[in-house]
Assembly symmetry: C2
């Protein structure tokens, strides 16, 4: 399910990106300096430049890694023979797991993409637009096939993705609700709201 590079056998560059991701989330991309990143990684700033040229390079790596992951998983879903409701359930679950298991990466990709330099910024936004369109196509197909209720697909996608991004507030909370309860109940709510 939720992919993104595991921590085992990471290269130095991957470790830098991972630690920078956490720093970006805590301080914000704008406020975090290359010096801060070096400190978090535990190397001299000069040696950091052997692996990474700029903060921006790290942001690009994070945003496009997250985008690749979502797109690869969506393509798998699109190719499957599942019903449109099953497809949406897989997509919703995948988004929730990404928020639960790769929170820092998804958070940065959601909040800091504005700092991407061109041509990456436009490319990222185009991919995002196309991704949302493809989700809305699955819902449109579901309505057409009478598997889903008649609902505006744009509003349904907005509702789903925004609800899931609210898991941010769960991450910041005392977490009296477990991750599994969160996932199961949010899936239930969002899928049953689509059903006929």
């Amino acid at each position: 399910m939720a992919r993104i590079q595991s921590k085992k056998n990471s290269t130095k560059k991957e470790i830098i990106i991972e630690k920078a991701a956490r720093l970006f989330r805590e301080k914000g991309f704008g406020a975090a300096s290359m010096r801060d990143i070096a400190e978090t990684v535990g190397v001299e700033a000069a040696s950091l430049y052997n692996h990474i040229q700029s903060k921006s390079e790290i942001l690009q790596a994070i945003c496009f890694k997250v985008a690749n992951d979502f797109i690869a998983q969506l393509e798998e879903v699109e190719r499957s023979n599942a019903s449109t409701l099953e497809k949406m359930e897989t997509i919703i679950r995948m988004h929730i797991r990404m928020m639960l298991e790769h929170y820092e990466y998804v958070y940065i990709s959601d909040h800091e993409w504005r700092h991407l330099p061109e041509p990456y910024l436009s490319n990222f936004l185009n991919q995002r637009r196309s991704y949302r369109k493809r989700l809305s196509d699955v819902i449109e197909e579901g309505i057409h096939k009478n598997e889903m209720k008649n609902i505006d697909p744009y509003v349904a996608v907005l509702t789903i993705l925004s609800a899931i991004s609210g898991i941010e507030s769960w991450h910041r909370s005392r977490k009296t609700t477990g991750a599994e309860t969160l996932e199961e109940n949010m899936v239930k709510y969002l899928i049953e709201g689509l059903k006929k």
Copy 2:
């Protein structure tokens, strides 16, 4: 429904708050200066201080105005004899309208509360926690009365409030979907997802 001071017969102070709200959303509370506010209002910085002592005073006014509005409307709903589903529909609709009609105020109250000074910060967070608990009580009652499906009330409230805060992305979009379509479809999705 969505209340908040109308623009007619506003006092000078209200006008300042209104213009500052827009500036805070555009630049962020941290980046906006009293000088910027004076410029937006069209007065000298010195004359601004006749009405407002600090940026923080404006932020407090906005956050507590929004909180008061939500709480007053929730109390009205709680006192009514409506079913729990009708109550949740009224609450969801009220939140959506606030996001549509008083976007700047709600945006700032949602995103910039961290900059509130004490004792306002703790007070604001306590009110927010209590507000969410009261929404979750309505859902718990709905489940108990067999009007709603068995769903974790905390997750349901998180899903609802996060979905609605996603209207931010609609505000930033080209708005090919009208406000009414947005409201009706989001209400439908979120209410039918709660139904038994």
